[in-house]
Symmetry: C2
Subunit: 753 residues, 2 copies
């Protein structure tokens, strides 16, 4: 059965566009004025020998960003976005990525192009060999390698729907070989649309002359980095392909297989030999120039176009002579690459026919692709200035290609730095998870989101897998610990029996017993609360005791929230949140209710607006601090103090807008880690140890932090939290930032930190 008939089968329809994508994208690191940097690969990035996301290509300045394998365009771009964010914010803030495939102005002397300082000496040697064989300047060109794999389900369904082929692996290999041959035959069309290297910058062409006129793609042309002409490989069968490469390595035309640099590379496993055993698993398109108009070097539409084009190439008949078919493609590619970017291609008629055929194919198979995909291609055919090379060349005419590159580069750079606590691609997740993902990517820990809305991550280094939920719920804590902390009574019993001071108190299951208990609490400060408190509902605080009537009312309020209530002594003092990890207090936070500080000039409303300008403030827990509101609660609070929003507080006067100190209602987070004596830090850490916890946010009331911590009543522990907030410590309103996510990662993967 012919492949067309197979692809048209109804039961295959759900699987036609199922796919696996991966992308490698090289860029030169440059200064904000567009000069090649002199700095090394950023130290903040983990060990680059094993870094899965951020590598160095040929030169030390040439950063290579690598996505994991993804199964959709949104997923691919989420990783592109995140890895770019991490790359930018791991470099010096005065560095950026050059958005063009052609390198920025190169140094005068060859040796000033610094070969990547890799730890593995073989890797360095190989680069030295390349430098010698092809010249360092040629190696400075960057581009995108697009790894493409049809979903195995699709190929399996195709296999099952036919009868001729009996070996699945061979069937699969043949599919990729056909697509490869067709791609090589038709790739000039991709070059027409997406070629984006019309001209070069200073000192790229030194040893040879470049093209005299602007072109569509220097990089893919005879002027690009290519194997020597005597390197020729057949794509007729996988055996012949491998034999050709082996022969050329033997003959010394290639130093090793990986020197074979073709527009499409057949991929099986890690080594070329795996192809012989396992067949082709996916293909790597290497002819994609960086798109300077896109912050990640390629657009989603480009990826979709490539995808549907590759499926089309599987469907489309090919020439009978494999080598001739590929050779014909090479010839056309040589022509198209060197055409003027603003002129139509000489193959315009064939191009139109191909796009029409592609459109018909999409219709026939009812592929759910973007509506304007075909229209966009048709427009590019009609107007060469709409092609990438055309756009880039035209735009460069107004100033220079360099200036355009700098402008675009800075836009992308600024975008990455705008909200440094967020991670592009993952902004829908909780802030702490975004920061943890950032740090993991930075340190070269493989990340996978298992469930986005559940904040569930899989992290991996080598064979070591760790799962993390909500940024600090991990395998390092044991199961009973959060259950202890979720139960206030149990927490208190455990802490008390370990000798820590907790508020004395009792639990009551019925109102009568609670009322009988009045005498025990009447004379001192006490708190009545539901056993399980949500958002502080149902709590009554009597700082200096209460009448029986008030007590009775408080008991009734508490019972309206829960079937059990607690009556506890009130502990006066300041509440601090201690963040304890692996036996150590890592951060201490004081939370202050929403407030503004008067200057004798501005109204409260103006002061709030000014304070809200802080980029750390946002809404909905997507920023480390929340915007201060001026709602009814705040206005009432102002009124009670004799203010309105129009009042102008005196210089230095602090005006509080809230009674509660929650960060979520505009409170300020103040890091106090240095200010709280070590003895208290040890108390907190020891209490957490008594609870058996590894990660814990524990709240201590401290009347006077200058009193010795071992004095009676020096502290009281009022709560222990098993999934403590971290972002407020990491981006505090005042005081030092504490990078707790790094501590979490260090706990999980000490080997890479």
């Amino acid at each position: 059965m012919k492949i067309q008939q197979l692809l048209e089968k109804k039961e295959l329809h759900p699987y036609l566009l199922k796919v696996r994508y991966g992308m490698e994208k090289e860029s030169q690191r440059v200064t904000l004025s567009g000069d090649l940097v002199a700095t090394d690969y950023p130290e903040t990035l983990g060990n680059r020998t094993h870094h899965p996301y951020i590598q160095t290509d040929f030169a030390e300045t040439q950063m290579e960003l690598i996505t994991p394998v993804t199964e959709s365009i949104p997923e691919l771009f989420r990783y592109l976005a995140a890895i770019h964010d991490v790359a930018y914010r791991s470099m010096d803030a005065e560095e950026m990525l050059w958005p063009l495939s052609m390198p920025p102005a190169l140094p005068e002397k060859d040796e000033e192009i610094i070969i990547a300082k890799l730890a593995n000496f073989e890797d360095v040697l190989y680069r030295r060999y390349l430098a010698k064989t092809y010249g360092r300047r040629k190696q400075m060109v960057s581009g995108i390698h697009f790894n493409f794999e049809f979903s195995d389900t699709l190929i399996r369904k195709l296999f099952e729907a036919q009868t001729e082929a009996t070996d699945y692996q061979q069937f699969k290999t043949d599919i990729y070989l056909k697509v490869t041959r067709n791609y090589l035959h038709y790739r000039w069309l991709i070059t027409y649309f997406f070629g984006a290297t019309p001209t070069s910058e200073a000192r790229y062409f030194v040893d040879e002359k470049g093209p005299e006129e602007p072109v569509r793609s220097i990089r893919n042309s005879m002027y690009g980095y290519k194997n020597h002409e005597d390197v020729q490989v057949t794509y007729a069968t996988i055996q012949a392909y491998l034999a050709d490469i082996d022969r050329m390595v033997e003959e010394g035309k290639l130093s090793e297989e990986k020197e074979f640099y073709a527009p499409v590379r057949l991929r099986g496993g890690k080594k070329v030999a795996d192809l012989a055993d396992a067949g082709i698993r996916y293909i790597e398109l290497r002819n994609i120039d960086l798109n300077p108009f896109e912050k990640y070097g390629i657009s989603e539409m480009q990826v979709e176009c490539l995808h549907v084009f590759l499926l089309f190439l599987l469907w489309k008949d090919e020439g009978t002579d494999a080598d001739a078919w590929v050779a014909e493609g090479d010839e056309k590619e040589n022509i198209v690459t060197l055409e003027h970017p603003l002129k139509p291609t000489v193959f315009i008629e064939e191009a139109r026919a191909l796009v029409a055929e592609l459109a018909a194919f999409i219709d026939k198979l009812a592929l759910p692709v973007s509506k304007n995909l075909i229209a966009d291609l048709e427009e590019k055919l009609a107007s060469p200035e709409k092609t990438l090379a055309g756009r880039l060349y035209l735009a460069s005419q107004q100033t220079s290609q360099k200036e355009l590159a700098v402008t675009q580069g800075k836009i992308y750079h600024d975008h990455a730095w705008e909200r440094p606590y967020q991670l592009a691609g993952f902004r829908g997740m909780e802030l702490s998870t975004q920061i943890l993902l950032f740090d993991a990517i930075q340190k070269g820990i493989q990340v996978e989101v298992l469930d986005e809305s559940d904040q569930f991550l899989k992290l991996k280094v080598g064979d070591n897998i760790e799962y993390v939920k909500n940024a600090n719920m991990t395998s390092k804590d044991n199961y009973i610990v959060p259950l202890i902390m979720a139960n206030k009574t149990v927490t208190k019993k455990v802490l008390a029996s370990a000798g820590f001071r907790v508020p004395a108190g009792r639990e009551f299951d019925d109102k009568e017993a609670a009322l009988q208990g009045y005498a025990e609490f009447a004379e001192q400060g006490f708190v009545v609360k539901p056993k399980t408190t949500n958002y502080g509902l149902g709590i009554s605080i009597f700082k200096d005791g209460a009448s029986f009537e008030d007590y009775q009312e408080a008991v009734e309020i508490a019972f309206s929230e829960d079937t059990s209530i607690l009556v506890e002594e009130f502990l006066p003092g300041t509440e601090y949140r201690f963040f304890v990890l692996a036996g150590e207090t890592k951060a201490i936070m004081l939370r202050v209710p929403a407030n503004v500080k008067g200057d004798g000039v501005h109204t409260i409303e103006e002061l709030v607006a000014k304070k809200n300008e802080d980029p750390l403030r946002g809404t909905d827990h997507r920023a480390p601090l929340e915007l201060i509101q001026l709602g009814s609660i705040e206005k009432l609070m102002l009124k009670e103090q004799g203010y309105t929003v129009e009042s102008v507080p005196e210089d230095g006067t602090i005006v509080y807008l809230r009674e509660n100190s929650n960060i979520s209602t505009g409170g300020d987070s103040i890091d106090m880690t240095k200010e709280i004596p070590e003895a208290y830090q040890k108390v907190a850490a020891a209490a957490v140890e008594a609870l058996g916890a590894v990660i814990c946010g524990i709240d201590l009331i401290i009347p006077d932090k200058n009193r010795p911590a071992d004095e009676p009543g020096a502290y009281g522990i009022i709560e222990a939290n098993f999934n403590p907030a971290m972002h407020m410590h990491m981006y505090s309103y005042q005081g030092q930032s504490r990078r707790l996510t790094m501590d979490v990662l260090n706990l999980l993967f000490p080997e890479v930190m």
Copy 2:
């Protein structure tokens, strides 16, 4: 300030009855016909060298039950109840506890009274010494030791309210000394009320003559087990008390301190020397005879009476000469113990005055004691036949004391065996927790309920503390594991990436995407369900595919329950629950929907009633199986099969009353652990390991258990549960019982199991 004034202070009121109780209760093990057993201490009980709850006293047949320290009467009786339940069900079912203090008929020969076979040779030697000094028969008497401690808060508040005493420890010691002297002085009153050893059984008096008439308390009389007369100790001061004991040990009148056997023992720490260092911490009343009319040997009213009496004795003035005061009490005790149980005491007037004074004391301090406490005492004074000795003697007259003891003993024995899956005292807790508590007590693991409604336990052996919630949530699992299992998508991803078969499927967050996915599922059996399922709501199963309309409806139903839904392939086969613990499948359960088996004679209604007679069936998860209902769902199900409740199904016909197989709706639990081949057991254990779990209930669909487990499609994993039910495996409807709670304890405390 005088103690009366202190006790009357208003601020002390909440603390007056705060207390710590502990009880040790000895009983002889006898056959169901009341003969001393010949068996050893039950092997099912853990190591008795360290057993905190169930020990052996002098003889191998003499079981000693020990409660932990408790803080209220209900708590004390909950432990008494539980420890009795465990003791009964750890002995042979043909053994019981003799309910009298006086032993059952003793053997003819002394050496047939077997000294407890303790591991520690010193303990055996001491018993041999006692046998020689006092005779084995004397040692066979049993009784209750009541440990009593005023709450430290009460004593501290008393101390703070006065000014004379300056040393807290001395103050406390003096309080207990005063109570002790008064108790010794007035203890004849307790003997009058609660003495319960009027006569002895055969061969108790062999070497000496017993009383000729029935008495109130042989045990507390000169005929009981007493030190020799030359052992005399003063209670004037703690120093003098200790000096007296030291002197008598030196003079050889006592072999060691613990041989000093007084009605009240002063307790400080483990050794008497601790008294010198730490003062008196509590006192131990040793003069309480077993109450044969109470299943635990003492009533709650008795405990309350003793408690309030001891507080009264603290309040009440004493004689100025300490030794004379005590000696006077001894004399009266000697008289009252030997009075006829049906006659008034000669001290009736003093007794009446004391009770009146006690009543006035209760009134004055407004103590919240039982309303009929005083009336009950007054009645006993007026009618000696209402005293325990009187009641016992009178009742014995009708048959014999032995027969009465056997009758009472059997009632208590049967009570303990009635619902062997429950644990008396803890019946409000979940069944699995009750069983775990039973096993822990049996094995000598210290138990503490930290939160009853939350099923939160603290278990302890030596310094090793483990917390357990819901019977199998422990520290042995790590925190991330239950979070993985709580998320179906994450569970499937983790299992699939480890190579296990899970139903293929997709998660959808919006209806449109879900509807687009139709084609992927249309042709095969599939299931549509909300991501988070509660009680099976919102699930649609299409065993052979579905029309788009049906699919659409199913999607809408699922989205009405959750914001995310799953569409998964339907796996045909039988569902088995594998209970895996520490890498091993411990039990496999098949759950069958509620059903009855016809016999050609009875109606369905009758068959249901008959099946419900099984003591394993109950309601509300307080039994391993639930009662089968005949509600509207069951009637509808019958109707669909052409039955009514009046139908008489043919012999052997199984009639199902439910579609779902939940145990909670009357389903049957069938143990299949032996029937399922090992290969499947290993798959389940390996899948649980892949999830990282130590304890897990994992559900496998197996189309044919006789197919090799490694064949494609031999199984599919549909769910993993992090707090799997255990009681259904332990008390299954059919098949072998699997004592999973023992496995849990073995995981936590391998050293004691």
